[in-house]
Protein backbone atom coordinates (compact mmCIF):
# COMPACT_ATOMS: atom_id res chain seq x y z
CA UNK A 1 0.00 0.00 0.00
CA UNK A 2 2.76 2.42 0.99
CA UNK A 3 4.54 1.67 -2.27
CA UNK A 4 1.44 2.45 -4.26
CA UNK A 5 0.85 5.84 -2.67
CA UNK A 6 3.53 7.79 -4.57
CA UNK A 7 2.21 6.34 -7.84
CA UNK A 8 -1.36 7.28 -6.95
CA UNK A 9 -0.20 10.76 -6.11
CA UNK A 10 1.64 10.99 -9.42
CA UNK A 11 -1.41 9.78 -11.34
CA UNK A 12 -3.66 12.27 -9.52
CA UNK A 13 -1.27 15.10 -10.27
CA UNK A 14 -1.05 14.32 -13.97
CA UNK A 15 -4.83 13.94 -14.16
CA UNK A 16 -5.22 17.32 -12.56
CA UNK A 17 -2.79 18.89 -15.04
CA UNK A 18 -3.88 17.15 -18.22
CA UNK A 19 -7.60 16.45 -17.73
CA UNK A 20 -8.72 19.89 -18.96
CA UNK A 21 -6.54 19.62 -22.07
CA UNK A 22 -7.66 16.03 -22.62
CA UNK A 23 -11.32 17.01 -22.39
CA UNK A 24 -10.76 19.93 -24.73
CA UNK A 25 -9.08 17.73 -27.34
CA UNK A 26 -11.62 14.91 -26.91
CA UNK A 27 -14.65 17.13 -27.56
CA UNK A 28 -12.97 18.76 -30.55
CA UNK A 29 -13.80 15.44 -32.26
CA UNK A 30 -17.48 15.62 -31.10
CA UNK A 31 -19.89 14.72 -33.85
CA UNK A 32 -22.63 16.83 -32.28
CA UNK A 33 -23.24 20.56 -31.85
CA UNK A 34 -22.17 20.89 -28.19
CA UNK A 35 -18.77 20.20 -26.57
CA UNK A 36 -20.33 18.40 -23.60
CA UNK A 37 -20.87 14.73 -22.76
CA UNK A 38 -22.04 12.41 -24.03
CA UNK A 39 -19.64 11.92 -26.95
CA UNK A 40 -21.96 11.41 -29.87
CA UNK A 41 -19.36 9.92 -32.16
CA UNK A 42 -15.98 11.02 -33.53
CA UNK A 43 -15.58 13.27 -36.52
CA UNK A 44 -13.17 15.82 -37.99
CA UNK A 45 -16.00 18.11 -39.16
CA UNK A 46 -15.08 20.93 -36.74
CA UNK A 47 -11.50 20.92 -37.95
CA UNK A 48 -12.73 21.16 -41.53
CA UNK A 49 -15.02 23.95 -40.38
CA UNK A 50 -12.33 26.10 -38.80
CA UNK A 51 -9.75 25.48 -41.51
CA UNK A 52 -12.16 26.86 -44.09
CA UNK A 53 -13.02 29.81 -41.84
CA UNK A 54 -11.12 32.72 -43.36
CA UNK A 55 -10.98 34.74 -40.15
CA UNK A 56 -9.63 31.88 -38.05
CA UNK A 57 -6.98 30.94 -40.59
CA UNK A 58 -5.94 34.60 -40.85
CA UNK A 59 -5.74 34.83 -37.06
CA UNK A 60 -3.64 31.67 -36.97
CA UNK A 61 -1.26 33.07 -39.60
CA UNK A 62 -1.09 36.39 -37.73
CA UNK A 63 -0.23 34.58 -34.52
CA UNK A 64 2.59 32.67 -36.22
CA UNK A 65 3.99 35.85 -37.77
CA UNK A 66 3.85 37.76 -34.47
CA UNK A 67 5.28 34.86 -32.46
CA UNK A 68 8.22 34.18 -34.77
CA UNK A 69 9.14 37.79 -35.49
CA UNK A 70 8.72 39.05 -31.93
CA UNK A 71 10.67 36.01 -30.71
CA UNK A 72 13.49 36.77 -33.14
CA UNK A 73 13.65 40.44 -32.14
CA UNK A 74 13.54 39.59 -28.42
CA UNK A 75 16.40 37.08 -28.84
CA UNK A 76 18.59 39.51 -30.77
CA UNK A 77 18.02 42.32 -28.25
CA UNK A 78 18.40 39.94 -25.31
CA UNK A 79 21.67 38.57 -26.73
CA UNK A 80 23.09 42.05 -27.30
CA UNK A 81 22.21 43.11 -23.75
CA UNK A 82 23.65 39.89 -22.29
CA UNK A 83 26.86 40.20 -24.34
CA UNK A 84 27.35 43.80 -23.26
CA UNK A 85 26.80 43.06 -19.57
CA UNK A 86 28.76 39.79 -19.49
CA UNK A 87 31.77 40.95 -21.48
CA UNK A 88 32.25 44.60 -20.67
CA UNK A 89 32.62 46.56 -17.51
CA UNK A 90 29.80 49.08 -17.61
CA UNK A 91 28.96 51.77 -15.09
CA UNK A 92 25.89 50.72 -13.11
CA UNK A 93 25.94 47.17 -14.51
CA UNK A 94 24.00 45.76 -11.55
CA UNK A 95 21.29 48.40 -11.97
CA UNK A 96 21.10 47.75 -15.72
CA UNK A 97 20.76 44.02 -15.09
CA UNK A 98 18.00 44.67 -12.59
CA UNK A 99 16.15 46.97 -14.97
CA UNK A 100 16.36 44.37 -17.73
CA UNK A 101 14.93 41.60 -15.54
CA UNK A 102 12.34 43.72 -13.67
CA UNK A 103 9.59 43.61 -16.35
CA UNK A 104 9.24 39.88 -15.56
CA UNK A 105 7.59 40.86 -12.28
CA UNK A 106 5.06 43.24 -13.85
CA UNK A 107 1.73 41.69 -14.83
CA UNK A 108 0.91 41.47 -18.53
CA UNK A 109 -2.17 43.57 -17.90
CA UNK A 110 -0.10 46.48 -16.57
CA UNK A 111 2.45 46.15 -19.39
CA UNK A 112 -0.39 46.08 -21.93
CA UNK A 113 -2.16 49.10 -20.43
CA UNK A 114 1.07 51.07 -20.30
CA UNK A 115 1.87 50.29 -23.92
CA UNK A 116 -1.70 51.16 -24.94
CA UNK A 117 -1.39 54.58 -23.36
CA UNK A 118 2.01 55.17 -24.95
CA UNK A 119 0.74 54.15 -28.40
CA UNK A 120 -2.30 56.40 -28.06
CA UNK A 121 -0.19 59.35 -26.95
CA UNK A 122 2.26 58.82 -29.81
CA UNK A 123 -0.59 58.44 -32.27
CA UNK A 124 0.51 54.98 -33.38
CA UNK A 125 -2.44 52.95 -34.67
CA UNK A 126 -3.04 49.52 -33.15
CA UNK A 127 -2.03 46.61 -35.39
CA UNK A 128 -0.07 43.37 -35.36
CA UNK A 129 3.02 45.58 -35.11
CA UNK A 130 1.97 46.98 -31.76
CA UNK A 131 1.08 43.49 -30.47
CA UNK A 132 4.52 42.33 -31.64
CA UNK A 133 6.17 45.22 -29.78
CA UNK A 134 4.24 44.20 -26.66
CA UNK A 135 5.50 40.64 -26.98
CA UNK A 136 9.08 41.82 -27.39
CA UNK A 137 8.67 43.81 -24.18
CA UNK A 138 7.56 40.75 -22.20
CA UNK A 139 9.99 38.26 -23.80
CA UNK A 140 13.13 40.38 -23.80
CA UNK A 141 13.79 39.88 -20.05
CA UNK A 142 13.38 36.12 -20.41
CA UNK A 143 15.75 35.95 -23.39
CA UNK A 144 18.24 38.16 -21.58
CA UNK A 145 18.13 36.01 -18.44
CA UNK A 146 18.57 32.70 -20.30
CA UNK A 147 21.43 33.89 -22.49
CA UNK A 148 23.19 35.87 -19.77
CA UNK A 149 23.15 32.86 -17.44
CA UNK A 150 24.87 30.70 -20.04
CA UNK A 151 27.73 33.11 -20.80
CA UNK A 152 30.46 31.52 -18.72
CA UNK A 153 34.14 32.29 -18.31
CA UNK A 154 35.18 29.41 -20.57
CA UNK A 155 33.40 31.18 -23.44
CA UNK A 156 35.26 34.34 -22.59
CA UNK A 157 38.61 32.63 -23.07
CA UNK A 158 37.52 31.19 -26.43
CA UNK A 159 36.62 34.73 -27.49
CA UNK A 160 40.02 35.94 -26.36
CA UNK A 161 41.63 33.15 -28.36
CA UNK A 162 39.65 34.15 -31.46
CA UNK A 163 40.74 37.77 -31.08
CA UNK A 164 44.31 36.63 -30.55
CA UNK A 165 44.15 34.69 -33.83
CA UNK A 166 43.10 37.80 -35.73
CA UNK A 167 39.29 37.89 -35.57
CA UNK A 168 37.59 41.29 -35.45
CA UNK A 169 34.69 41.93 -33.06
CA UNK A 170 31.98 40.97 -35.57
CA UNK A 171 33.82 37.73 -36.40
CA UNK A 172 34.23 36.93 -32.71
CA UNK A 173 30.49 37.31 -32.10
CA UNK A 174 29.28 35.55 -35.26
CA UNK A 175 31.85 32.74 -35.52
CA UNK A 176 32.52 32.01 -31.87
CA UNK A 177 30.10 33.50 -29.35
CA UNK A 178 26.80 32.81 -31.12
CA UNK A 179 27.63 29.21 -32.16
CA UNK A 180 28.91 28.43 -28.66
CA UNK A 181 25.74 29.83 -27.10
CA UNK A 182 23.45 28.28 -29.72
CA UNK A 183 21.64 26.03 -27.21
CA UNK A 184 20.74 28.96 -24.95
CA UNK A 185 19.86 31.20 -27.88
CA UNK A 186 17.57 28.58 -29.42
CA UNK A 187 15.98 27.84 -26.05
CA UNK A 188 15.28 31.54 -25.55
CA UNK A 189 13.82 31.80 -29.05
CA UNK A 190 11.47 28.83 -28.76
CA UNK A 191 10.34 29.88 -25.31
CA UNK A 192 9.56 33.37 -26.63
CA UNK A 193 7.63 31.88 -29.55
CA UNK A 194 5.43 29.73 -27.30
CA UNK A 195 4.81 32.56 -24.85
CA UNK A 196 3.85 34.94 -27.65
CA UNK A 197 1.71 32.28 -29.35
CA UNK A 198 -0.37 31.75 -26.20
CA UNK A 199 -0.48 35.35 -25.04
CA UNK A 200 -3.91 36.97 -24.82
CA UNK A 201 -4.09 40.14 -22.71
CA UNK A 202 -1.44 42.22 -24.50
CA UNK A 203 -2.58 41.01 -27.91
CA UNK A 204 -6.18 41.86 -26.97
CA UNK A 205 -5.28 45.38 -25.84
CA UNK A 206 -2.86 46.20 -28.65
CA UNK A 207 -4.61 44.88 -31.78
CA UNK A 208 -7.66 46.17 -33.61
CA UNK A 209 -8.64 44.74 -37.02
CA UNK A 210 -6.01 42.06 -37.58
CA UNK A 211 -5.95 39.93 -34.44
CA UNK A 212 -3.98 36.96 -33.17
CA UNK A 213 -5.51 33.55 -32.53
CA UNK A 214 -6.12 33.88 -28.77
CA UNK A 215 -8.02 37.14 -29.44
CA UNK A 216 -10.07 35.47 -32.19
CA UNK A 217 -10.87 32.62 -29.79
CA UNK A 218 -12.09 35.20 -27.31
CA UNK A 219 -14.35 36.64 -30.02
CA UNK A 220 -15.72 33.17 -30.74
CA UNK A 221 -16.34 32.52 -27.05
CA UNK A 222 -18.74 35.42 -26.90
CA UNK A 223 -21.11 33.58 -29.22
CA UNK A 224 -21.24 30.59 -26.87
CA UNK A 225 -19.63 27.17 -26.57
CA UNK A 226 -19.07 25.12 -29.70
CA UNK A 227 -16.81 22.21 -30.66
CA UNK A 228 -15.20 24.69 -33.10
CA UNK A 229 -13.58 26.33 -30.08
CA UNK A 230 -12.28 22.97 -28.92
CA UNK A 231 -10.81 22.35 -32.37
CA UNK A 232 -9.06 25.75 -32.39
CA UNK A 233 -7.84 25.17 -28.85
CA UNK A 234 -6.47 21.77 -29.85
CA UNK A 235 -4.55 23.36 -32.71
CA UNK A 236 -3.09 26.00 -30.36
CA UNK A 237 -2.09 23.23 -27.99
CA UNK A 238 -0.59 21.17 -30.82
CA UNK A 239 1.58 24.07 -31.99
CA UNK A 240 2.84 24.75 -28.46
CA UNK A 241 3.65 21.09 -27.88
CA UNK A 242 5.42 20.87 -31.23
CA UNK A 243 7.56 23.89 -30.39
CA UNK A 244 8.55 22.42 -27.05
CA UNK A 245 9.37 19.10 -28.72
CA UNK A 246 11.50 20.81 -31.37
CA UNK A 247 13.28 22.65 -28.59
CA UNK A 248 13.88 19.39 -26.74
CA UNK A 249 15.16 17.53 -29.79
CA UNK A 250 17.19 20.35 -31.30
CA UNK A 251 18.70 21.89 -28.23
CA UNK A 252 18.74 19.68 -25.17
CA UNK A 253 19.48 16.42 -26.99
CA UNK A 254 22.45 17.97 -28.70
CA UNK A 255 23.79 19.47 -25.53
CA UNK A 256 23.74 16.09 -23.85
CA UNK A 257 25.65 14.35 -26.62
Amino acid sequence: MMRLLPWLYLAAMFTFIYLPVGVLVLFSFQDGGLPVPPVEGLSLRWYADILTDRRLVDALTNSLIVAISSGAVAVVLGFCAAYALARHVLPGAALLRGLLIAPLTVSYLIVGLGLLMVMNRLGIGLSLWTAGIGHVVINLPICFAIIYASMGAQHKNAERAARDLGANEAQVVLLVTVPMLAPAILAAFFLSVTLSWDEFIIAFLLTRFDVTLPVEIWNLLRSGLSPRLNAVGSIVFLVSVTTVLVLELLVFRRRRS
Binding site: Q154, A158, R160, M180
Partner: protein
Protein backbone atom coordinates in the same frame (compact mmCIF):
# COMPACT_ATOMS: atom_id res chain seq x y z
CA UNK B 1 59.25 32.65 -37.55
CA UNK B 2 60.85 33.99 -34.45
CA UNK B 3 61.63 37.32 -32.85
CA UNK B 4 63.22 38.95 -29.85
CA UNK B 5 61.10 40.34 -27.02
CA UNK B 6 62.20 43.37 -25.07
CA UNK B 7 60.42 44.65 -22.01
CA UNK B 8 61.48 48.11 -20.91
CA UNK B 9 60.81 49.55 -17.45
CA UNK B 10 57.35 48.05 -17.22
CA UNK B 11 54.99 48.86 -14.37
CA UNK B 12 51.38 47.83 -13.97
CA UNK B 13 48.75 48.70 -11.41
CA UNK B 14 45.39 47.01 -10.84
CA UNK B 15 43.78 49.89 -8.97
CA UNK B 16 45.88 50.21 -5.82
CA UNK B 17 47.73 46.94 -6.39
CA UNK B 18 51.19 47.36 -7.88
CA UNK B 19 51.17 44.11 -9.87
CA UNK B 20 54.39 44.59 -11.85
CA UNK B 21 57.32 46.63 -10.59
CA UNK B 22 59.94 47.93 -12.98
CA UNK B 23 60.21 44.80 -15.13
CA UNK B 24 63.19 44.77 -17.47
CA UNK B 25 63.58 41.68 -19.62
CA UNK B 26 65.36 40.76 -22.80
CA UNK B 27 64.37 37.54 -24.57
CA UNK B 28 66.38 36.29 -27.53
CA UNK B 29 64.84 35.04 -30.75
CA UNK B 30 64.18 31.31 -30.57
CA UNK B 31 64.70 31.15 -26.83
CA UNK B 32 62.51 29.07 -24.53
CA UNK B 33 61.88 31.20 -21.45
CA UNK B 34 59.75 30.30 -18.45
CA UNK B 35 58.29 32.85 -16.06
CA UNK B 36 58.33 31.05 -12.72
CA UNK B 37 56.75 32.18 -9.48
CA UNK B 38 54.04 31.58 -6.91
CA UNK B 39 50.45 32.55 -7.70
CA UNK B 40 49.94 36.29 -7.55
CA UNK B 41 53.57 37.07 -8.41
CA UNK B 42 52.62 38.87 -11.62
CA UNK B 43 53.79 36.26 -14.14
CA UNK B 44 50.40 35.89 -15.83
CA UNK B 45 49.95 39.67 -15.84
CA UNK B 46 53.28 40.00 -17.63
CA UNK B 47 52.23 37.34 -20.15
CA UNK B 48 48.91 39.15 -20.76
CA UNK B 49 50.83 42.35 -21.45
CA UNK B 50 53.11 40.53 -23.91
CA UNK B 51 50.01 39.11 -25.63
CA UNK B 52 48.27 42.48 -25.79
CA UNK B 53 45.36 41.60 -23.50
CA UNK B 54 46.45 44.22 -20.99
CA UNK B 55 47.79 47.73 -21.53
CA UNK B 56 50.67 48.32 -19.13
CA UNK B 57 50.45 51.37 -16.88
CA UNK B 58 53.99 52.33 -17.82
CA UNK B 59 56.85 51.03 -19.95
CA UNK B 60 57.25 49.50 -23.39
CA UNK B 61 57.07 46.10 -25.03
CA UNK B 62 59.11 45.55 -28.20
CA UNK B 63 58.73 42.44 -30.33
CA UNK B 64 61.32 41.97 -33.05
CA UNK B 65 62.42 45.54 -32.37
CA UNK B 66 58.98 47.04 -33.09
CA UNK B 67 57.03 48.83 -30.38
CA UNK B 68 53.95 46.69 -29.64
CA UNK B 69 52.93 48.25 -26.31
CA UNK B 70 49.48 49.39 -27.46
CA UNK B 71 48.89 47.02 -30.40
CA UNK B 72 45.83 44.76 -29.93
CA UNK B 73 46.33 40.95 -29.76
CA UNK B 74 45.01 40.38 -33.28
CA UNK B 75 47.69 42.64 -34.77
CA UNK B 76 50.60 41.22 -32.80
CA UNK B 77 52.99 38.55 -34.07
CA UNK B 78 52.16 36.62 -30.90
CA UNK B 79 49.63 33.91 -30.12
CA UNK B 80 48.61 32.67 -26.71
CA UNK B 81 47.94 29.14 -25.56
CA UNK B 82 45.43 29.46 -22.76
CA UNK B 83 45.39 27.50 -19.53
CA UNK B 84 41.96 25.98 -20.28
CA UNK B 85 42.98 25.57 -23.97
CA UNK B 86 39.97 27.76 -25.05
CA UNK B 87 39.21 25.54 -28.04
CA UNK B 88 36.07 26.33 -30.02
CA UNK B 89 33.68 23.52 -28.97
CA UNK B 90 31.44 23.84 -32.04
CA UNK B 91 34.26 23.37 -34.56
CA UNK B 92 36.16 20.29 -35.68
CA UNK B 93 39.83 20.09 -34.76
CA UNK B 94 40.74 21.01 -38.33
CA UNK B 95 38.56 24.13 -38.19
CA UNK B 96 39.95 25.00 -34.78
CA UNK B 97 43.52 24.84 -36.04
CA UNK B 98 42.62 26.64 -39.27
CA UNK B 99 40.76 29.47 -37.50
CA UNK B 100 43.68 31.89 -37.44
CA UNK B 101 44.45 31.21 -41.10
CA UNK B 102 40.78 31.77 -41.97
CA UNK B 103 40.94 35.14 -40.21
CA UNK B 104 44.04 35.85 -42.26
CA UNK B 105 42.03 35.27 -45.43
CA UNK B 106 43.56 31.97 -46.54
CA UNK B 107 41.37 29.89 -48.88
CA UNK B 108 39.61 26.86 -47.45
CA UNK B 109 41.63 24.18 -49.19
CA UNK B 110 44.99 25.76 -48.38
CA UNK B 111 44.14 26.36 -44.76
CA UNK B 112 42.80 22.84 -44.28
CA UNK B 113 46.00 21.43 -45.73
CA UNK B 114 48.04 23.58 -43.37
CA UNK B 115 45.82 22.60 -40.42
CA UNK B 116 46.38 18.92 -41.20
CA UNK B 117 50.13 19.55 -41.26
CA UNK B 118 49.93 21.18 -37.85
CA UNK B 119 47.80 18.35 -36.45
CA UNK B 120 50.43 15.97 -37.79
CA UNK B 121 53.12 17.94 -35.95
CA UNK B 122 51.34 17.34 -32.63
CA UNK B 123 50.52 13.71 -33.41
CA UNK B 124 46.80 14.08 -34.17
CA UNK B 125 46.95 13.69 -37.94
CA UNK B 126 44.04 11.24 -38.06
CA UNK B 127 41.66 13.24 -35.88
CA UNK B 128 40.99 16.37 -37.94
CA UNK B 129 37.24 15.87 -38.13
CA UNK B 130 36.70 15.13 -34.45
CA UNK B 131 35.34 17.64 -31.97
CA UNK B 132 37.18 18.94 -28.90
CA UNK B 133 34.81 17.26 -26.42
CA UNK B 134 35.83 13.84 -27.77
CA UNK B 135 39.44 14.39 -26.71
CA UNK B 136 41.40 13.85 -23.51
CA UNK B 137 43.05 16.75 -21.71
CA UNK B 138 46.44 16.04 -23.23
CA UNK B 139 45.01 15.87 -26.74
CA UNK B 140 43.16 19.17 -26.29
CA UNK B 141 46.39 20.70 -25.19
CA UNK B 142 48.04 19.53 -28.41
CA UNK B 143 45.23 20.99 -30.50
CA UNK B 144 45.60 24.31 -28.70
CA UNK B 145 49.32 24.21 -29.47
CA UNK B 146 48.69 23.40 -33.15
CA UNK B 147 46.12 26.20 -33.40
CA UNK B 148 48.48 28.74 -31.86
CA UNK B 149 51.39 27.68 -34.08
CA UNK B 150 49.37 27.44 -37.32
CA UNK B 151 49.51 31.19 -37.89
CA UNK B 152 53.32 31.05 -37.60
CA UNK B 153 53.65 33.50 -34.72
CA UNK B 154 57.03 35.03 -33.94
CA UNK B 155 56.39 34.52 -30.24
CA UNK B 156 54.20 31.87 -28.58
CA UNK B 157 52.90 32.68 -25.10
CA UNK B 158 51.89 29.72 -22.94
CA UNK B 159 49.81 30.35 -19.83
CA UNK B 160 50.32 27.39 -17.46
CA UNK B 161 49.71 25.05 -20.40
CA UNK B 162 50.33 21.86 -18.44
CA UNK B 163 48.53 22.86 -15.25
CA UNK B 164 45.44 20.72 -15.86
CA UNK B 165 47.31 17.51 -16.74
CA UNK B 166 48.27 14.73 -14.36
CA UNK B 167 51.89 14.44 -13.35
CA UNK B 168 52.96 11.68 -15.73
CA UNK B 169 51.33 13.27 -18.76
CA UNK B 170 52.78 16.63 -17.75
CA UNK B 171 56.32 15.24 -17.80
CA UNK B 172 55.89 13.70 -21.24
CA UNK B 173 54.22 16.85 -22.65
CA UNK B 174 57.17 18.89 -21.37
CA UNK B 175 59.53 16.89 -23.52
CA UNK B 176 57.19 17.21 -26.46
CA UNK B 177 56.76 20.98 -26.08
CA UNK B 178 60.51 21.37 -25.98
CA UNK B 179 60.96 19.19 -29.07
CA UNK B 180 58.30 21.10 -31.02
CA UNK B 181 59.85 24.40 -30.00
CA UNK B 182 63.21 23.22 -31.31
CA UNK B 183 61.62 22.19 -34.58
CA UNK B 184 59.65 25.38 -35.28
CA UNK B 185 62.21 27.75 -33.77
CA UNK B 186 59.56 30.16 -32.43
CA UNK B 187 60.32 32.11 -29.26
CA UNK B 188 58.33 30.47 -26.41
CA UNK B 189 57.40 32.30 -23.22
CA UNK B 190 55.91 29.83 -20.77
CA UNK B 191 54.30 30.70 -17.43
CA UNK B 192 54.39 28.13 -14.65
CA UNK B 193 54.51 27.79 -10.88
CA UNK B 194 56.18 24.36 -11.06
CA UNK B 195 59.94 24.73 -10.68
CA UNK B 196 60.63 21.20 -11.92
CA UNK B 197 58.68 21.95 -15.09
CA UNK B 198 60.63 25.18 -15.53
CA UNK B 199 63.96 23.42 -15.11
CA UNK B 200 63.00 20.59 -17.43
CA UNK B 201 61.91 22.81 -20.28
CA UNK B 202 63.54 26.23 -20.23
CA UNK B 203 66.68 27.65 -21.75
CA UNK B 204 66.27 30.44 -19.27
CA UNK B 205 64.15 30.81 -16.14
CA UNK B 206 62.83 34.15 -14.92
CA UNK B 207 61.91 33.84 -11.25
CA UNK B 208 59.27 36.34 -10.17
CA UNK B 209 57.90 37.30 -6.79
CA UNK B 210 55.52 40.07 -5.70
CA UNK B 211 55.67 41.81 -9.06
CA UNK B 212 59.46 41.81 -9.37
CA UNK B 213 62.01 39.72 -11.22
CA UNK B 214 64.09 38.04 -8.52
CA UNK B 215 66.49 36.23 -10.80
CA UNK B 216 66.91 35.29 -14.44
CA UNK B 217 69.32 32.79 -15.88
CA UNK B 218 69.94 29.21 -16.93
CA UNK B 219 68.23 26.53 -14.82
CA UNK B 220 71.50 25.19 -13.43
CA UNK B 221 72.83 28.62 -12.54
CA UNK B 222 69.58 29.60 -10.79
CA UNK B 223 69.50 26.32 -8.92
CA UNK B 224 73.14 26.39 -7.85
CA UNK B 225 73.81 30.11 -7.41
CA UNK B 226 70.40 31.81 -7.00
CA UNK B 227 70.58 35.60 -6.89
CA UNK B 228 68.18 36.03 -3.97
CA UNK B 229 66.99 34.11 -0.96
CA UNK B 230 63.49 33.89 -2.53
CA UNK B 231 64.87 32.36 -5.75
CA UNK B 232 66.94 29.95 -3.66
CA UNK B 233 63.88 28.74 -1.76
CA UNK B 234 61.54 28.62 -4.74
CA UNK B 235 63.89 26.56 -6.90
CA UNK B 236 63.90 23.68 -4.44
CA UNK B 237 64.44 22.64 -0.86
CA UNK B 238 67.12 24.61 0.94
CA UNK B 239 68.76 24.39 4.35
CA UNK B 240 68.92 27.85 5.88
CA UNK B 241 71.62 28.29 8.47
CA UNK B 242 71.85 31.57 10.40
CA UNK B 243 75.17 33.37 10.09
CA UNK B 244 76.54 36.85 10.64
CA UNK B 245 79.54 38.95 9.89
CA UNK B 246 82.18 39.54 12.49
CA UNK B 247 85.28 41.72 12.42
CA UNK B 248 87.36 39.37 10.30
CA UNK B 249 84.92 37.09 8.47
CA UNK B 250 81.69 35.20 8.77
CA UNK B 251 80.59 33.32 11.82
CA UNK B 252 78.37 30.24 11.53
CA UNK B 253 77.26 27.63 14.09
CA UNK B 254 79.85 25.35 12.48
CA UNK B 255 82.74 27.76 12.85
CA UNK B 256 84.15 30.60 10.77
CA UNK B 257 83.63 30.66 7.05
CA UNK B 258 86.03 32.17 4.53
CA UNK B 259 83.56 33.72 2.08
CA UNK B 260 82.81 37.25 0.96
CA UNK B 261 79.74 38.59 2.77
CA UNK B 262 77.07 40.35 0.64
CA UNK B 263 76.31 42.80 3.47
CA UNK B 264 77.46 43.26 7.04
CA UNK B 265 75.16 42.04 9.78
CA UNK B 266 72.83 39.04 9.89
CA UNK B 267 73.09 36.58 7.02
CA UNK B 268 71.52 33.32 5.86
CA UNK B 269 73.80 30.55 4.70
CA UNK B 270 72.06 28.28 2.18
CA UNK B 271 72.88 24.68 1.40
CA UNK B 272 70.94 22.24 -0.82
CA UNK B 273 70.05 18.88 0.82
CA UNK B 274 72.10 16.96 -1.74
CA UNK B 275 75.16 19.09 -1.00
CA UNK B 276 75.44 17.78 2.55
CA UNK B 277 78.17 15.13 2.47
CA UNK B 278 79.14 12.42 4.92
CA UNK B 279 82.61 12.32 6.33
CA UNK B 280 85.06 14.91 7.50
CA UNK B 281 85.87 17.86 5.34
CA UNK B 282 89.16 18.51 3.64
CA UNK B 283 90.67 21.85 2.74
CA UNK B 284 88.13 24.28 1.23
CA UNK B 285 85.12 22.65 2.86
CA UNK B 286 82.84 23.48 5.75
CA UNK B 287 83.12 20.98 8.56
CA UNK B 288 79.71 20.53 10.13
CA UNK B 289 80.72 18.04 12.80
CA UNK B 290 78.57 15.25 14.16
CA UNK B 291 74.81 15.15 13.74
CA UNK B 292 72.10 12.84 14.99
CA UNK B 293 69.83 11.16 12.43
CA UNK B 294 66.21 11.91 13.38
CA UNK B 295 64.46 9.99 10.61
CA UNK B 296 65.13 8.60 7.14
CA UNK B 297 62.80 8.10 4.18
CA UNK B 298 63.65 6.16 1.04
CA UNK B 299 63.00 7.96 -2.30
CA UNK B 300 64.62 5.61 -4.80
CA UNK B 301 67.29 7.96 -6.09
CA UNK B 302 68.20 9.15 -2.58
CA UNK B 303 67.34 8.91 1.09
CA UNK B 304 65.90 12.01 2.67
CA UNK B 305 67.05 12.39 6.25
CA UNK B 306 66.41 14.91 8.99
CA UNK B 307 69.54 15.59 10.98
CA UNK B 308 70.23 17.50 14.20
CA UNK B 309 73.80 18.81 14.25
CA UNK B 310 75.51 18.80 17.65
CA UNK B 311 77.05 22.19 16.95
CA UNK B 312 73.58 23.75 16.55
CA UNK B 313 71.00 21.59 18.35
CA UNK B 314 68.09 23.95 17.59
CA UNK B 315 68.64 23.48 13.84
CA UNK B 316 67.19 20.59 11.81
CA UNK B 317 68.94 19.96 8.49
CA UNK B 318 67.51 18.05 5.54
CA UNK B 319 70.01 15.95 3.67
CA UNK B 320 69.77 13.69 0.63
CA UNK B 321 72.00 10.74 1.39
CA UNK B 322 73.04 7.96 -0.99
CA UNK B 323 70.24 5.39 -1.23
CA UNK B 324 72.51 2.45 -0.70
CA UNK B 325 72.73 1.41 2.96
CA UNK B 326 71.00 4.37 4.66
CA UNK B 327 71.75 5.19 8.31
CA UNK B 328 69.21 4.28 10.97
CA UNK B 329 67.47 6.87 13.10
CA UNK B 330 69.42 7.65 16.24
CA UNK B 331 72.79 7.04 14.61
CA UNK B 332 75.39 9.79 14.44
CA UNK B 333 77.02 10.96 11.21
CA UNK B 334 79.87 13.33 10.51
CA UNK B 335 78.87 15.98 7.97
CA UNK B 336 80.60 18.47 5.70
CA UNK B 337 79.86 20.61 2.67
CA UNK B 338 81.96 21.99 -0.14
CA UNK B 339 82.41 25.74 -0.25
CA UNK B 340 81.20 25.93 -3.86
CA UNK B 341 77.77 24.65 -2.77
CA UNK B 342 77.30 27.37 -0.17
CA UNK B 343 75.49 30.61 -0.89
CA UNK B 344 75.05 33.60 1.40
CA UNK B 345 72.20 36.12 1.52
CA UNK B 346 71.28 39.04 3.70
CA UNK B 347 68.74 37.97 6.32
CA UNK B 348 65.19 38.91 5.39
CA UNK B 349 63.71 41.66 7.49
Amino acid sequence: MTATVTVEALDHWFGELHALKDIVLEIEAGEYVTLLGPSGCGKTTLLSILGGFLDPSRGRVLIGGRDMTHVPPAKRPTTTMFQDYALFPHMSLRDNVAFGLRMGGMARRARHARADEMLDLVGLAADGSRRPHELSGGQRQRVALARALAVQPEVLLLDEPLGALDLKLRRSMQDELKAIQRRVGTTFVHVTHDQEEAMAIADRIVVMNAGRIEDAGSPSRIYRRPATLFAAGFMGEMNRIPARTTGDGIETPFGPLAMAAPVTGDLVLCLRPEAILQGEGTAGTLDMGRAEVLDVAFFGTHCRAHLRPEAAPDLVLVAHLPPADPPEAGKHLTLSAQAKDLTLYPKEA
